[in-house]
């Protein structure tokens, strides 16, 4: 280390960490080397299980009881964290390093008022109680909490997730740390809230010139936030360098594959299949000789399989741990470019599924929650309807009503192929039941873990297709071939399969009875990026082959855009906008849609000017009067918004929205193609 320059905010030197599980040490980090200079923001990106969070824990010497640093060093401000005695460590934590985690609700002490918790930070630094409280109030103001005094006396559970995270950030930045570690700080938050938190972090970081270690699985978030990026794969840093360089010109096959997997903004299924990374992550603690990525790498040769590639320093401060880094950008694509035509919707026929004035309220009396209010939609054969909205918008309730898992309120009408649907699954015709199936978000819970895959699928075939014996066996094989599973996946239990394979089984179950409509409830959000692409491909292929219709729910607008033909935007249980995907994305669109779109971080970096939404999502128990969005609407006109409920009006054929604004005052109205253009770039 050069003595003249100030020490790095954080440096990891050959860091090895292992966890002891069932009596054996499992290596999770292997020889990790990286440094974060003072004031620099460094992004650490990788799929689940790659050891991202362990880096943060090791750096702060807060590994769980079964974990230990088995080699290397971690230095913060030039001091070896592992060598510090307890008092020094405490001083380091009090003065130099702070941390923000994924779940703010858990990070706050549930039995202590917010004010006390924030004030503690100052007390540690030596402020007397009263002064500390005063400083705490000021700090809460800095994280843009509107009424710090009232928040101070509240308890964590009385705050929303976004507010909680602001409090955590306030505590973290209060000490003006030299290093701030952010571990998935916005995961689990709604897109609009996420964008706001990210803005806040970005602003304060610059203000305090704090170095940041930003850990995330979300490439888009990292791209927008960090100066430099490290890509972690199975506990190893495979590539590292300036953000722009990495995202635009990756030099490791893994990074290349990862970036290609993402459905870029504006891309749809009609434009072809997504690229994928074959295989899956090695298990934690696996003993691997050679390059850790070799089993999944198209470029891998004998050298890769025999020799662990050393990190290679490239130009402009980049490092790639690949024997063939120079060939990485030319990595062959795995997906054949073949693509069928988009579905032709025969508007004259009966829609396969139609919802008329569907509502659902829970509870009763004073605390009635209106989860869904008066939603009318139709779905045509072979098309995908994307359902979009933040948490609490009623997406899932709507899906459950379609499936018959939740009974709608009286007056609601659901039809399949023009025939009325009973409200509960068990009341429905067997034919109706098998026509309506679902692919759940989490394949771990959607598959009965006690069963062999063979039995799971057989049972579904028996119940939904009414098959038995040889016929069923035949269909079983046809079905697993359809979802690209092999014979050897049949005689195992779900937990022996990776997430992607499990989701394929779930898809097989849904398709056992030749369904007409499949509800896909965030089918890829529990999956890693590399797996997500394969599943999206499969869904699109199946739709093309079988003319099945999807109701596709996702918070990831990129994914929704990719798969959907039409999109419905929900807010507080109301349908705000409904129309062809392209039209909804490109505009003119509803102010809420506009805000949602603007909040999406993208790997291309440089988000379009974000449209900030004020305040919190209102409680569905007491929805605002008039237009329910008026409390947060950036384009609110005035009293009319608070008074009158806007009608759903058609602004273009098949494209309707619910807003008092004049058509050409709507976002995207001026440059219909601009948004799409910008994002495709």
């Amino acid at each position: 280390m050069n003595v003249a320059t100030p020490p790095d905010a954080l440096a990891a030197e050959g860091l090895d960490v292992c966890y002891r599980v069932r009596g054996r040490d499992r290596v999770v980090l292997r020889g990790l080397d990286f440094r974060i200079r003072r004031g620099e923001s460094f992004g650490l990106v990788g799929e689940s299980g790659c050891g991202k969070s362990t880096v943060a824990l090791a750096a702060t010497r807060y590994l769980p009881r079964n974990g230990r640093v088995s080699g290397g060093r971690v230095l913060i401000d030039g001091r070896d964290v592992l060598e510090l005695d307890n008092a020094e460590l405490r001083r380091l934590r009090a003065h130099s390093v702070a941390m923000v985690y994924q779940e703010p609700a858990k990070a706050l002490n549930p039995s202590m008022p917010i004010g006390r918790q924030v004030a503690e930070v100052f007390e540690v630094l030596g402020s007397p109680r009263r002064e500390a409280l005063e400083k705490a109030r000021a700090m809460l103001g800095r994280v843009r909490i509107a009424d710090p005094a009232s928040v101070m006396v509240r308890y964590p559970h009385q705050l929303s997730g976004g507010m909680q995270q602001r409090v955590v950030i306030a505590m973290a930045l209060a000490i003006r740390p030299s290093l701030l570690i952010l571990d998935e700080p916005t995961t689990g938050l709604d897109a609009t809230v996420e964008a706001e938190i990210l803005d806040l972090i970005e602003q304060l970081r610059r203000e305090y010139s704090t170095a940041v270690l930003f850990i995330s699985h979300n490439l888009g978030v990292i791209a927008g936030m960090c100066d430099r990026v490290g890509v972690l794969y199975a506990g190893r840093m495979v590539e590292e360098g300036p953000t722009r360089a990495i995202f635009e010109d990756p030099r490791h096959p893994y990074t290349v594959g990862l970036l290609r997997c993402l459905p870029r903004r504006g891309r749809s299924k009609a434009q072809g299949r997504l690229d994928t990374i074959p295989g899956q992550l090695p298990p934690i603690g696996a003993q691997i000789t050679g390059c850790i990525f070799a089993p999944r790498c198209v470029l891998a040769d004998d050298l890769c399989r025999a020799v662990d590639p050393p990190p290679v320093r490239l130009s402009d401060g980049r490092v790639s741990a690949c024997h063939h880094h120079e060939r990485a950008p030319d990595l062959p694509t795995t997906a054949p470019p073949a693509r069928r035509l988009a579905v032709l919707v025969d508007q004259a026929a009966v829609p396969v599924l139609s919802l008329d004035h569907v509502s659902k309220s829970f509870g009763g009396g004073a605390v009635t929650v209106r989860a869904v209010t008066d939603v009318s939609l139709e779905l045509w054969a072979g098309e995908t309807l994307g359902l979009v909205g933040e948490s609490g918008s009623g997406k899932t309730t709507l899906a459950r009503m379609i499936l018959g898992l939740t009974g709608p309120d009286a007056g609601s009408e659901l039809r399949i192929n023009g025939r009325a649907l009973a409200s509960h699954a068990f009341q429905r015709h067997a034919a109706h039941r098998k026509s309506l199936q679902i692919i759940f978000q989490n394949p771990d819970t959607a598959l009965n873990r006690a069963r062999l895959i063979r039995r799971l699928i057989s049972r579904a075939l028996g119940k939904l297709a009414g098959l038995a014996g040889a016929e069923r066996l035949e269909r079983l094989h046809a079905l697993i071939a359809l979802v690209r599973l092999g014979e050897r996946h049949l005689d195992v239990r779900p937990r022996q399969l990776s997430g992607g394979l499990k989701q394929r089984v779930a898809i097989a179950l849904a398709f056992a009875g030749d369904p007409r409509v499949v509800v896909c409830d965030e089918p890829t959000s529990a999956l890693d990026v590399s797996v997500q692409a394969a599943i999206l491909n499969l869904l699109a292929d199946l739709q093309a082959e079988r003319q099945v219709s999807y109701v596709f729910i996702s918070h990831d607008l990129g994914v929704v855009r990719y798969l959907s033909d039409r999109i419905a935007v929900l807010y507080l249980g109301r349908l705000m906008e409904f129309g062809p995907a392209e039209a909804v994305f490109s505009g003119p669109h509803h102010p809420y849609t506009e805000a949602l779109l603007s909040a999406v971080p993208s790997v291309e970096g440089g988000r379009p000017e974000r449209i900030a939404l004020r305040g919190e999502i209102p409680s569905p128990v007491r929805p605002p009067s008039g237009c329910v969005f008026h409390t947060r609407c950036p384009r609110k006109i005035g009293a009319i918004c608070e008074r009158d409920v806007p009608q759903l009006r058609e602004i273009a054929p098949g494209h309707s929205l619910r807003c008092h604004l004049h058509l050409d005052e709507l976002g995207g109205a001026q440059a219909p193609a601009a948004a799409d253009q910008a994002s495709v770039s």
Partner: protein, 319 residues
């Protein structure tokens, strides 16, 4: 507001539970063998005398009439008269309950601090030898029946060392210290049984709190370890333990049967036992309900305490 409603709801539910309990006990009492008349007059009594006595006591009336008769008085606070002793049940019950409470209180005062301390110490040393020692001994003591530990204690402290009296009964009018000396030995088996429970809960709560993100937050603030423990870990860790302790109070009051038998102590356990044997329905019903009431009150106190200490319930959800 929401807190009060919560307590009221709990009370209402408890009343339903107690009513159900009274019905169960009443129906159960009907299948008890023999009858009151014979229990009083002795096994060899003339059947005519037995019939006459049963009639006099009213136990030959239809079940519903008997139940109505008892319950309509009970709700007015009149627990009826013991069929066997032909005296109001109240004083018997009060005396027995007072005895049991005395014993339970001593056991309680000993075990609660010990159990919490043991659990917290184990949790602080989780995974180490001390933790295993506390957990395994606590666990082992919890499952050893009271009569076994009682006997070992009697042998050691009563018979060999002659430090403590082996019977829980003392002369009328004995002083508090004498009573305490007599109750010490009977209290220890209860302490042993409860120690494991409480220590386990306290340990689990503490371990969970130690592993919690908010504790990490506190540690990362650079707070001294002691502050972290006292301010952040323990208040959250011991919250669930309170509920356990209170439910164990219910156990203590009623589960004294064995200890009361071993140490010849006239508590609520022996009252119920004898009432059941003599088929003394008003006494049995009142005794059982009294245990139910004590248990209910204990859990109620626990719930209230829990909600008072837990802001999540105190302040309800966010708006």
């Amino acid at each position: 507001m929401s807190g009060l409603r919560f307590v009221l709801r709990r009370v209402a539910l408890s009343l339903v539970t107690l009513w159900l309990l009274s019905v169960i006990v009443f129906l159960g009492a009907q299948v008890l063998p023999g009858d009151v008349g014979r229990a009083i007059l002795g096994p060899l009594a003339d059947p005519r005398a037995v019939a006459a006595l049963d009639h006099k006591l009213g136990v030959d009336r239809p079940l519903l009439v008997q139940y109505w008769d008892w319950s309509s008085h009970f709700v007015t606070g009149d627990m009826g008269r013991s069929l066997v002793y032909r005296q109001p049940v109240g004083p018997f019950l009060a005396a027995a309950l007072a005895n049991s409470l005395k014993l339970a209180a001593i056991a309680f005062l000993l075990v609660v601090p010990l159990g919490i301390f043991g659990g917290v110490v184990a949790a602080m040393n989780v995974g180490r030898a001390l933790d295993r020692i506390i957990t395994v001994t606590g666990l082992s003591m919890t499952v050893v029946p009271e009569f076994v530990s009682s006997i070992v204690l009697i042998l050691i402290f009563g018979v060999w060392l002659e430090w403590l009296p082996v019977s829980a009964s003392w002369r009328e009018g004995a002083g508090a210290f004498t009573q305490f000396r007599h109750l010490l030995l009977p209290a220890v088996p209860l302490v042993l049984v409860l120690f494991g429970y409480i220590a386990r809960m306290a340990r689990a709560g503490t371990v969970e709190a130690l592993d919690a993100d908010y504790t990490r937050t506190a540690v990362m603030k650079g707070l001294p370890f002691r502050t972290v423990v006292w301010r952040h870990v323990l208040p959250n860790a011991l919250l669930p333990t309170i509920t356990v302790i209170a439910t164990q109070m219910g156990y203590l009051i009623g589960g004294l049967v064995v200890v009361e038998t071993v140490f010849h102590y006239q508590g609520i356990g022996s009252l119920i036992y004898n009432a059941a044997k003599a088929k003394d329905f008003p006494m049995l019903e009142s005794g059982v309900l009294m245990i139910g009431v004590v248990y209910t009150i204990a859990t109620l106190i626990a719930d209230v305490l829990y909600s008072l200490l837990n802001p999540r319930i105190r302040f309800g959800g966010r708006e």
